[in-house]
Amino acid sequence: MSRYLLRVVSLVAALAVWQVLTSRDVELWLRFSQFPTVTDVAHSFADRIGTGTYWQDVADSLRRIVTGFVVAALAGVVAGTAVARSRLAEDVLGTLLEVVRPIPAIALVPVAILLFPSNEQGIVFITCVAAFFPVLVATRHAVRALTPVWEEAVRTMGGGRWRVLRSVVLPGALPGILGGLSVGIGVSWICVISAEMISGEYGVGYRTWQDYTVVDYPGVFVGMVTIGVLGWATSTAVELAGRRVTRWLPRRAAGTGGGRGKGATVRATDLV
């Protein structure tokens, strides 16, 4: 389909712009002269992708991120719901979490070193903390914004708190929660270097930081590209899962057919 073509074209165009900016050493306020070109990075990439180390890095990072994220998703949804729906939870947990929330992932490096018996646990801890808060905040907002009549309806059917949670709060807040999960997995990746600083051996984040310490810019960019692609893959997985469970959302006809197709909702305009 032409949509996919367009997407590919846009990625290729971005690479082309990068190549031109860097190979011509453009310096218009922003300075591209010191950047590796696309071809430099591609060469580095080609060298690495054949090594076992590269795939070990990828596998280790994925395992850490996914573990941390799953724990964070569960904890974030539970805590977010509790804080949104219970005044007690809000008072006891809310403030505490708000103060802990902005603490930088790297600042957790020493904490992770001191707190956990093994480095792996420390790494998963950091990625988990990173993903936890976006999920928490999104869940809290989504639960608070729920249409009250849904809950009222379930309660007049005799539904108690658990039923309301299961049948109204979770499904109703799901679209918002999914936004949080998508952000959360992104933030996990954002913190992967910080987390893997304590790895000592493998991991895409670890490797990228190591490359940076020897000022190997093409290597750093290989790491960035790898993380970009892995992050995109994981967040796409989250979004697709999300779309399945929120198919009920009434959608504007956007994206279901071309322009003003017969039978489609007429849209004022496609752009915006």
Binding site: V149, W150, E152, A153, V154, R155, T156, M157, G158, G159, R163, S167, V168, P171, G172, L174, T246, W248, L249, P250
Partner: protein, 263 residues
């Protein structure tokens, strides 16, 4: 097939000098009314007079500002499965199919899945929605959604149904069908009904008694001489009552309606 609850007769609902309203907005005061078990009380009143507020209070969703609502002598402390509410607004869960919406009160009551499914199908069929079971609420029409709410309320086999203009979006024939369905259910189960409507004829047809809300009070409760008999509508007694109620609502009876009553 049809769920009967002859073992659980209708609930008795009593209000003694209750004031009600929304936080900061009192709506009705000094409301006194007693709905014996198995009776149908219809409620009429002008738009904004407090009908929905009354029903929400009976359902236990709003706490009264003063006084207590008693169901079978116990003060209401919150909503419960014994009192089903058909909301005036769209209260279907948009992520559940029509069937899943109707199944919900059954699931809450712990009815096992196959049974639940069969009963939901039964009720959807009774409100005329066979074939639409698997649609989502926003893929059906307004009147269809309203009927799903009715099916959902009845499926839970409540002891009282509180209905807020449940047939407002229905055409005459469908409306008549739904009225009859309600009468059937009432006959079979002895459920207590509080029914808000704008249609005075409907109020007279369905109600054992008709309550009139006006000026922030419950002004009158009239006994209906020949309830639930369409043919009996035009007896002098019924006609007289209709005139009384319409007058209480400030409306002119059709016969004397001037073209522009208050322009």
């Amino acid at each position: 097939m049809r769920p009967t609850s002859s073992d659980r007769p209708g609930a008795r609902i009593a209000l003694r000098d209750v004031s009600l309203g929304h936080p900061g907005t009192p709506v009705l005061s000094g409301v006194r009314v007693d709905v014996p078990a198995g009776q149908v009380l219809t409620v009429v009143g002008r738009s904004g007079c407090g009908k929905s507020t009354l029903l929400r209070t009976l359902a236990g969703l709003l706490a009264p500002l003063a006084g207590d609502v008693a169901v079978d002598r116990a003060a209401v402390r919150g909503p419960g499965a014994d009192r089903a509410l058909v909301f005036q607004e769209d209260a279907l869960l948009p992520w559940r199919s029509l069937r899943a919406n109707v199944e919900l009160p059954l699931a809450i009551a712990g009815v096992p899945r196959p049974d639940r499914r069969a009963r939901a199908a039964h009720w959807l069929s009774r409100v005329g929605l066979d074939g639409l079971e698997r649609r989502l609420p926003h893929h059906v029409s307004g009147g269809q959604r309203q009927r799903v709410q009715l099916a959902r309320a009845l499926a839970g086999a409540p002891r009282a149904v509180l209905m807020d203009e449940p047939f407002g979006a229905l055409d005459a024939r469908t409306r008549a069908g739904m009225q009859d369905l309600l009468v059937d259910v009432w006959r079979d189960t002895g459920v207590t009904v509080v029914f808000v409507t704008h249609d005075v004829d409907e109020a007279l047809f369905l109600g054992d008694r008709v309550a009139v809300l006006a000026d922030g009070r419950l002004t009158a409760v009239h006994d209906v001489p020949h309830p639930r008999d369409r043919a009996a509508r035009e007896t002098p007694a019924t006609a007289e009552l209709r005139r009384t109620v319409l007058a209480a609502l400030g409306a002119h009876t059709p016969e004397e309606a001037p073209l522009r009553p208050f322009s």
